[in-house]
Symmetry: C2
Subunit: 450 residues, 2 copies
């Protein structure tokens, strides 16, 4: 049986990794990418949120053979560094064993992945805008300048992101469910440059958050000593992108709300005035495929908001799962793609919800001492009841536990932790045998629920 | 100030009524309709579910001056006629005062509305497929045969149904939320012809239902003595459109499940084999408009499933509300359209939910004696506590109470009725003073909730 030839829309992170995995199995792979080659041309910045690579992402990079290369340009962030409203600060570790998520530049990662794909024999065509897909005939229409080329595909993957042209076409098919949902906040990229000697001016190994209830700013470290900041801010209301418009308003607002950041941001007003405001979309679709002919993957199948740092990680996990299915089912693409959408759809829906919920957590709850106490207790529970309790955050970021299971545990963990916290100071109580025996009961109740 | 000229996509029910209301206020109105003129050409049948006109629909027809004309071709249905699995039957009236919904042929109604629109000075262009809308420039692209015409619109309405081209365009705009959701059941049109002398072979003045738990057949009367039947049936599973395929399977299935209908359906097997299976979509979008330039209305803004008979009624209520807003705000279309979407969106969402819930009620619950008892009690409560209690069904079908309020009352009515029914035979209990005083308390509790 001849290997099918594979066409991929999009040479982004997921498209490139997918291409490498397919080449390693001997498929001929061609990618069509809308943008110019970012390795040759400077791409306009101002819309990028730094990536936070965690376990699911690393796994796919390992399969692709790129883990070491990326580790060299990744900065570990073992916790959140909170910049509170009252000027105080606090560090909150993510894992109980110092586990970290890793700040990675999207551009650098993408360039390396493209190199790797080409080195593995993948052909990438740039400046090819896919204007239409005919799912019935599996034909893509690619526009370059004013010419349109028509290509009939054998096996087609849409790795073309949140506004995927394959997904747009699939959404017109009968009995295809689809939704797109924008949150009421948008974001703007800002910047903290490196110090005079290229040093990081705030803690390098942390994800910085300025939580301000219904909005927040975050900052992730870059290897050149700078930080990429992102302001997540309502579009309308008070304050909002609508209400803060003039240079004077920007200065006044930041002075009041982010006084510790202002001295670090010399180009703040310029950046604020020049950089665009982008919106944040969640998309869901089902089915993800058309028979054994075409399939969505990554953001094209499930675009999510960035608040759990799981967009790329979820897309890379799609690749790992597809790799396992190719291993199990050989050339039987009907079975591979049908298992793929069945396995991944519930997890994609779950991570979409986890990400939406985490916006509330990051912008609002992390400012609350009760919440910080809860996070400490969660880690202690994880140590004491290893294998029986693991916090949802750790499941999502530091394990390969299905997202759907992590989401499912959220409510039971809320119940457990509120029982524990109602008893007062956990770290005192936990020295008392009667509390420990009560705790054992609660943990058993928790286990029965999850 | 010059009156704006109005372009409407779609000469269906809502587009035609809207056109009449705009003409009556002196606007120049042009409609572009995708299909040929149904008054001149025979349109392929097989996909139409008869309409059930209720109070909201009549109101708009009254405003348009068409009530009497339509009453002449409408058949009142004051209740449901249930054909149970065991061969028994029952009549269940919809209202406490004999109120009826009205069976109307979609085609006949649409033809009369087109005539009325043209008589009022509306221009309708047929065979004009809108292939694209540019919302930024308010330009529509109309295709007839192989030629495309570009028209820049002043004020544009999309009354072009569940697969609206204006809605498709709007869904690509930033920060536009959109969802489309198909239920797991589809439908097929079937037929009960008139008797030898043009008489109705089953009760004329009723909506007939054969409830069979996860599927059902309904039949609505036509003025020629026939009934249009619709089988709502799962796409997959057992039984389903997938599992019942051969003529023999159709015969066996109908003989077993609908034995009383079989003798009335001489062309059953032929109809089943020839008529298409159609899917059932719910769509939601927001915003509904682009500034004061374009706006969605009817199914284009909110396509719903047909189980409450409210699709056309909701679209016609859109027209009545728009009429009130034109009356209140003159030529201020920014205010008219902004108020329109704010007023109508919560009600459109509510009727979508009511319609989805009513599928469960019609196919499943109406077969249950407990449910029939509940319906009787609801009417008695409505009589005894006039102005304080009105069943959700009556609010939806026989009043102009906002759909959102009717949906909001659903849960409180469920609580009230389950309390009452837990006490046993209502029509015996209600003769006892102590029960009546208890009932008064419950009604007060209900009123506090709604």
């Amino acid at each position: 049986m001849n290997k099918r030839s594979v066409t991929i829309l999009g040479a982004g992170l997921v498209g490139s990794v997918l291409a490498v995995l397919l080449r390693k199995r001997g498929y001929e792979v061609t990618i069509y990418e809308r943008r110019p080659d970012m390795r040759k041309e400077i791409i306009g910045a101002g819309r990028s949120i730094n990536l936070a690579m965690s376990n699911r992402g690393w796994k796919a990079l390992e399969l692709a053979g790129l883990r070491e290369d990326i580790e060299a340009i990744a900065i570990p962030m073992p916790g959140r560094f909170l910049h509170q409203e009252d000027g105080s600060s606090a560090f909150q570790s993510y894992g109980k064993n110092g586990e970290a998520i890793y700040s990675v530049s999207r551009g650098e990662l993408n360039k390396k992945l493209m190199d790797l794909a080409e080195n593995n024999g993948v052909t990438i065509h740039f400046n090819q805008r896919c204007t239409k897909v005919d799912t019935a005939t599996n034909t893509i229409y690619l526009q370059e300048d004013n010419e349109t080329t028509e290509i009939k595909c054998d096996l087609l993957f849409g790795a073309d992101g949140a506004f995927s042209s394959l997904r747009t076409a699939m959404a017109f098919n009968d009995r295809t469910n689809f939704s797109q949902f924008y949150i009421e906040a948008g974001y703007k990229e800002l910047n903290i440059p490196a110090g005079p000697n290229g040093e990081w001016l705030i803690e390098k190994n942390a994800l910085h958050i300025w939580p301000r209830h219904n909005y927040m700013m975050i900052a992730l470290p870059n290897i050149d000593g700078s930080f990429t900041c992102t302001l997540f801010f309502p579009f309308e209301g008070e304050p909002s992108f609508e209400s803060i418009k003039t240079e004077e308003e920007v200065r006044t607002f930041f002075n009041k709300q982010f006084p510790d950041a202002i001295p670090l941001m010399p180009t703040l007003v310029e950046d604020f005035m020049n950089n665009p405001v982008s919106s944040l979309i969640t998309t869901k679709i089902f089915p993800w495929r058309n028979a054994d002919k075409s399939c969505l993957i990554g953001d094209a199948a499930h675009a999510i908001v960035p608040f759990y740092g799981q967009g790329m990680n979820a897309g890379f996990e799609d690749c790992s799962v597809l790799e396992e299915l190719m291993e199990a089912h050989g050339e039987d693409w009907e079975t591979i793609l049908s298992s793929f959408e069945q396995k991944r759809k519930p997890n994609a829906d779950a991570v979409a919800d986890l990400a939406l919920n985490n916006f509330i957590e990051m912008r609002d709850k992390v400012a609350d001492p009760v919440f910080l106490e809860r996070k400490k207790i969660e880690k202690e529970l994880g140590r004491r009841y290893a294998g029986r309790f693991n916090s949802v955050y750790e499941m999502v970021s530091f394990s390969h536990t299905p997202y759907a299971y992590a989401l499912h545990c959220t409510k039971a963990q809320d119940v457990l932790l509120s029982k524990i916290m109602a008893e007062g100071d956990f770290f005192v109580n936990v020295e008392k045998p009667e509390f420990v025996s009560q705790l054992e009961n609660w943990i058993e109740e928790y286990e029965a629920l999850v």
